[in-house]
Amino acid sequence: MPAHQPSESFILVASGSDFPLDNLPYGVFSTSANPTRRIGVAIGDQVLDLSALTDKFLNHELFIKNNKNVFAQSTLNDFMSLGRDAWATARQTLTRILSATEPDLRDDESLRGRAFVKQSDATMHLPCHIGDYTDFYSSREHATNVGTMFRGADNALPPNWLHLPIGYHGRASSIVVSGTDIRRPVGQTRPDESKPPVYGPCKALDFELEMAFFVGPGNPLGQPIPIEKAHEHIFGMVLMNDWSARDIQKWEYQPLGPFLGKSFATTISPWIVTMDALAPFLVDNVPQSPAVLPYLQHTDRFSYDIRLRVDLQGTDLFGQRPVSVSNFKYLYWTMKQQLAHHTSNGCNLRPGDLLGSGTISGPAKSERGSLLELSWGSKEPMDLGNGVTRTFLRDGDTVTLNGVCDNGSIRLGFGPCTGKVLPALEI
């Protein structure tokens, strides 16, 4: 099969850009000139404002919902709800009109002037209204590391781990877009079990390297999505930092799961990279043993080679340091399995729901996706050079997640997922 020739846009795409013509991720943005939130697509260093195209190129009846064009909305939920045919039609249209060889948009000077905005002039917002947010626990390495630290190597994985993709509901209201400052949380911890718990600023603030997918069409309550149809409900992916307060989490999490240790903030990258854009990067699924129950079985590939990196910047550090390098392909459970499991009891997913992968850790030490694992429960502080170490995050630290796909002929990325830690507020 001939190698894919990446197509060219008339918009200049710098070499190494996250946003070539093969990507076309969706986001919601505004500008100081026009503060209305609207839908855009990233291309090179530009944003193509889709709300400016609803009369000319995106006026297909497929894009009308409740008598309104989905691209005229301030969130992506309606577009996501339309399903794969509409997504494919939109992608075809946008690919065509952005192509270097197509004059329709390229030569329409007036429309070009209105429809393009520099990314540096755009303020990004959450791309959709998130009705429910679920976080999974789908990295075997992460679960084994954490389990080993707390229960010993023999009892690392709980007995259910290999049979179902464990997940829990997270807090939707505190999901923020990349660039939002993160206030160190305050809460109850119990550092000394022989004494009562105490209340104060979190002393074990951590990041979690994750990815998450957005649900497209949902399912009615009481009607599970069978796994063979799960991909029809998966729109696209973002990077996600599941900021965690490990000391608050440790004291609270039994038996009802993590709660305040997570709900103070979750950051996502602003550009949703579609599953169509990710198709060239499909790889084999991680083999599963023991065999999973039939409702979770699928043979089609649904694992993706997405290279991930976490960079740390701090007031005591000169420049950024990579602290973790991992890959989405390490995950044991696939997104199809997560989605089918989530609806297996009849639970209803809705367009815009966010499903996080869980911390993505690889087999090597440098591939661990959290400081908890990288510093092995603060027993092995990370050496960042020049006498600087880290066990957990300090005030002033900035954590940036990066994701890139590169198969030698196409390279695309997710844009940054970043957040800076601010000191806790006075109690």
Binding site: G131, D132, Y137, P158, N160, H163, L164, I166, G167, Y168, H169, R171, A172, S173, S174, V176, R183, P185, V186, G187, Q188, R190, P196, P197, V198, Y199, C202, L221, G222, P224, P226, A245, I248, W251, E252, Y253, Q254, P255, L256, G257, P258, F259, L260, G261, S263, F264, A265, P290, L293, P294, Y295, H341, H342, S344, N345, G346, C347, N348, R350, D353
Partner: protein, 434 residues
Amino acid sequence: MADSTFLQLEEASDFSFQNLPFGVFSTANKPIPRIGIAIGNWIMDLSELDCFSGPEMAKQSNVFREGELNAFMGLGRNAWHETRQTVQRVLSSAEGYLRDNGHLQKRTLINQDDAIMHVPARIGDFTDFSASKRHAENDRIMFTDKSQRILPNWDYMPVAYHSRASSVVVSGTDIRRPNGQYANEDGNVDSGPVFGPTKKLDFEMEIGALIGTKNALSQPISVDSADNHVFGFVLLNDWSARDLQSWEWNPLGPFLSKSFATTISPWVVTAAALEPFLCDPICLQDPQPLPYLRSKSIKTYDINLTTSLQTEGQTEMHYSSSVICQSNYKVMYWTLAQQIAHHTSNGCNLLPGDLIGSGTVSGPTYYSSGSLSELSERGTKPITLVDGQRRAFLHDGDEVIIRGWCEDKSVRIGFGECRGRVLHHRQHSPPPFP
């Protein structure tokens, strides 16, 4: 203003003149959901009234044309207070505005039997707490097979988890028995789990609080100001699949065992209507809570709660004879104010429309247990129903009805019903287990 309405109300109606709960309804001849007030057997359609002329509501009355309470709640306590006063005046026996206008009455007063009720708010997040010690102890025995008491954190914080907002349904919605994974009970320790319909379907009798006023991200709500953020209360049934819960809960908490459905009653009883029923909790908190959970005046509400179980094929029986448990909200160890303060202590932001589940309201006595799991001692001692049938857990066709009310010598207000009937599970393809 008189302290009664010109409308003829049944004695001991839940929706007395002192109540005036808010709900979202639609009708056959006007299918658009909108906001109303329950009074006796009527609904007063607020979207049809032209009388909101006070400083808070004069330019805002379009909020009553919304299909959810969020916009109205977001206007804040002064707006809620002014609206309550306006509604009291309109319904008052001493005011002619509605009393003497047959035409207006026809437009604005709808028989509850002619209305379809909807979930009253768009629920951004639904959190469920654990605030009954007896219920927590029962859970501990059921899910860990240990007879040790509850974990130490329970005494220091109102433990909670995020639950599923999308599957909150209004009273009257049928509940499909969920399928799921659970441990094989064939006695073979090496058997993997099975997948199929839950065999341990249960109800949980709870109170739900609706947040009316938000807090900004990273700005906690103090325990002394928490009550100001609450708009009102509903009855809540936190349907649970105990076998699914046993298998999945470790380590990240209940998930699919809860997310298949949660039922709430349609009429939101306001904090204002509940004020006469403020009381001291019956539990003393020991150990003393940390300062952020300590309040100068620790208050809860005296709300009577009952759950009835009616089996398939029973003729409509008088509710009281099918009651299987009876309790009171005031038995809860943690108050709502403490739950809210804890929930936001890390900076988490609550939004109007957020739903806070109290946790199963199980009191100190056996008969006050708010779930079948406790009443049947985790299925080991099935209860006997009034028609002679026995129940360890719920059967298909069973209908669970939660009721709640407050009364003193002069006033009675009630919550209506929170009901749901269990439907047979959905056949899942492919076949569950070879």
